[in-house]
């Protein structure tokens, strides 16, 4: 296991100083022939297999992992986050295998925004966002002035500064999603992972959230990986798409190259049409099966 000697501070100002340690210096995330098998025990047939797949992502890039249910999207996200060790192949973040980092180092580099979790005891928005500073603290982790500043900036970046003193269980779904994103930003990660971030949001809030993500990825040079099955949002916002079906990676590339009518119809089992907008982004129209 390789242990990095210093803690990266991936703010906009100094992320360029954080040089990758191996391979192409422009690549931050590198998934190399990573695969995974879920099996209840070794003698039985596997329940699910994610076949070996590879892709790379640069700072500031938004990668969408797209596919129908049970296509392996969440498994791939777990491999990237380091929560699972790949069965074969490797996932590197700036040259370090993500699953072999300690939880603390991992949390300093990778932030995961999951589908909303249930809170056991009510907490204030600011308390929740400060949780993102946990991996940067020492000992009993009384938060420093710097932690407070980072948390405030994170809230400001997602436009939720006015929510600071509200209770987490008294804000709307869209507001909560922003606060969860702010907590991830407070981790000051290199890699921002989002698991179906738009799931419970209305369309306005979905566009809002993805606009913020695009801006944040550009400003802070985050590498963003989003798991989704929203075709049009992927087409509009992603720089790169990883298309999965039943554990197989069918295609990796820019939305315009992945969004082929036949391919998407086969993957999503629905008749659809793909057109290109004036901005060069694909737009998908779905039809009824009947």
């Amino acid at each position: 296991m390789s242990t990095p000697l210093r803690t990266p501070m991936p703010s906009a100002a100094n992320s360029s100083a954080d040089q990758p340690l191996r391979g192409n210096p422009d690549v931050r995330l590198s998934v190399e022939q990573a695969s995974y098998v879920y099996a209840p025990n070794p003698s039985q047939a596997p329940l699910f297999t994610l076949e070996a797949l590879s892709f790379q992502a640069k700072p500031g890039e938004i990668v969408a992992i797209l596919g129908p249910n049970a296509s392996g999207k969440s498994t791939l996200l777990k491999l990237i986050s380091g929560a699972l060790a790949p069965l074969s192949g490797r996932v590197f973040l700036n040259g370090f295998a993500t699953h072999s980092l300690t939880p603390k180092l991992r949390a300093q580099r990778i932030a995961l925004v999951q589908q909303e979790s249930r809170l056991l005891f009510p907490s204030r928005v600011w308390e929740f966002v400060l949780q993102g500073r946990h991996a940067h603290g020492h000992g009993l982790r009384f938060e420093s002035e710097e932690d407070v500043t980072v948390a405030k900036n994170a809230l400001a970046q997602v436009g939720a500064l006015h929510l600071t003193d509200r209770w987490m269980d008294k804000i709307s779904g869209g507001e909560k999603q922003r606060v969860i994103l702010a907590r991830a930003l407070a981790q000051q990660p290199l890699l921002l992972l989002l698991d179906e971030p738009t799931l419970h949001l209305d369309i306005g809030a979905q566009v809002d959230l993805l606009d913020s993500l695009r801006r944040l990825a550009a400003e802070n040079r985050y590498t963003v990986v989003v798991v989704t099955h929203e075709l049009n949002l992927t087409g509009e916002y992603a720089n790169q798409v990883v298309l999965l079906q039943k554990g197989k990676c069918l295609r990796v590339g820019a939305p315009a190259s992945v969004f082929q009518r036949d391919l998407l119809e086969q993957v999503f089992q629905a008749p659809l049409n793909v057109e290109m907008t004036s901005s060069g982004r694909p737009r998908v129209t779905l039809f009824s099966n009947k």
Binding site: S81, A83, T102, P103, K104, R106, A107, Q108, I110, A111, L112, Q114, S117, L119, L120, F121, P122, S123, W126, E127, L130, Q131, G132, H134, A135, G137, L140, R141, F142, E143, D147, V148, A151, K152, T164, D165, Q187
Partner: protein, 346 residues
């Protein structure tokens, strides 16, 4: 945005410590025999200033040799149970977790009784013999919490309702074991079934055990306190805590062992006193919020205050006879448990 600071933590704890001191003074005064604390204080100062060699008055004897040790015992037991309760609530992600409700105290009681039986058979020297009981209680607590944890799992996840039911049934089963052991093996130093099942502070444990109780409390609470900020994140779930940088497995093992030690020690000297570990952490959360860096020390002090008050009621309300203190805590705690359960369901 006002995160907890060390200064604020000390200030709040000092206020609780002052309240504890006042409660202790009142508890010293109350009892079957009325005493004048003024007179006692004057005598004490004289002894300290070496104007007199001993406390002359009779009530001094009552207060210092009978009431004070019992109050000190209440302080350590109350603090241990409250810290254990707060820890189990975080560890099991269940706001209704409490060493008594989950049957952990009953497990510790069975462990204590078995240890006492073994002790009687081995005929060890008295100062050494006393140490087997808390060890048995610790084992009993640790095994019970492991069993309840596995009973409470459904599809690999802890299900809070199943966990509570599993705990309550385990408690009932273990109470039956206690009754069985008491009816078939009664005698010697096993004490009575009501002592183990309801808890009482009326019998002072041997001095070696008291010493162990004090040390054990500080070591176990200290160990839990080192994980306080991790526990805040663990409340959101294991996966989320891991992604925020918590070494989940390490925290779980530390808290599991330390909370079992606290429960075991408390039960081995006072039986299964219920609901302190439920009531006190909830009250402290209402006052100070749910940050464990504040919750653990405030629960320790609050638990001490609560049990000193409860025990004072237990020994004065039907004086000169002594109620089991567990009866007093259950009369307040059980309705509170129902209230929390209803609120959660709604």
């Amino acid at each position: 945005m006002r995160p907890l600071t060390l200064g604020r933590l000390f200030l709040r704890c000092s206020i609780l410590a002052v309240i504890l001191f006042v409660v202790v003074v009142i508890a010293l005064k109350l009892g079957a025999v009325q005493v004048s604390l003024y007179g006692l204080g004057r005598d004490l100062i004289r002894v300290l200033l070496r104007q007199s060699s001993s406390i002359s008055s009779d009530y001094g004897l009552i207060v210092l040799n009978i009431r004070l040790p019992r109050i000190l015992l209440a302080i350590v037991v109350g603090a241990s149970l409250s810290v254990a309760g707060a820890s189990f609530q975080a560890l099991l992600r269940n706001p209704l977790a409490d060493p008594y409700v989950l049957g952990i105290s009953s497990g510790a009681a069975v462990g204590s009784i078995v240890a006492l039986m073994v002790e009687n058979q081995l005929a060890l020297s008295p100062e050494f013999a006393g140490l087997i009981t808390p060890f048995g209680a610790f084992l009993g607590a640790a095994v019970t919490i492991a069993a309840v944890y596995y009973l409470g799992r459904r599809d690999g996840q802890i299900d809070s309702t199943t966990l509570l039911l599993g705990g309550i049934i385990t408690a009932s089963f273990l109470s039956a074991i206690i009754m069985f052991l008491m009816s078939t093996l009664a005698g010697g130093n096993l004490r009575g079934a009501s002592y183990w099942m309801m808890g009482s502070l009326s019998t002072l444990p041997p001095e070696s055990l008291l010493f162990l109780l004090g040390i054990g409390f500080f070591v176990a609470t200290g160990a839990i306190y080192t994980t306080a900020s991790d526990l805040n994140l663990l409340l959101a779930g294991e996966k989320e805590a891991m992604h925020l940088g918590v070494d989940v497995r390490r925290v779980q093992i530390v808290v599991y062992l330390a909370a079992s030690i606290l429960t075991g020690l408390a039960v081995s000297v006072s039986g299964a006193i219920g609901y302190v570990g439920l009531l006190v952490p909830h009250a402290m959360r209402m006052i100070f919020g749910s940050d464990h860096r504040m919750l653990i020390p405030s629960s320790a002090l609050g638990g001490a205050i609560a049990l000193v008050i409860a025990d004072t009621i237990a020994r004065t309300v039907a004086a000169p006879s002594d109620l089991p203190v567990g009866a007093v805590t259950a009369m307040v705690g059980a309705p509170f448990f129902i209230y929390l359960l209803r609120r959660r369901l709604s």
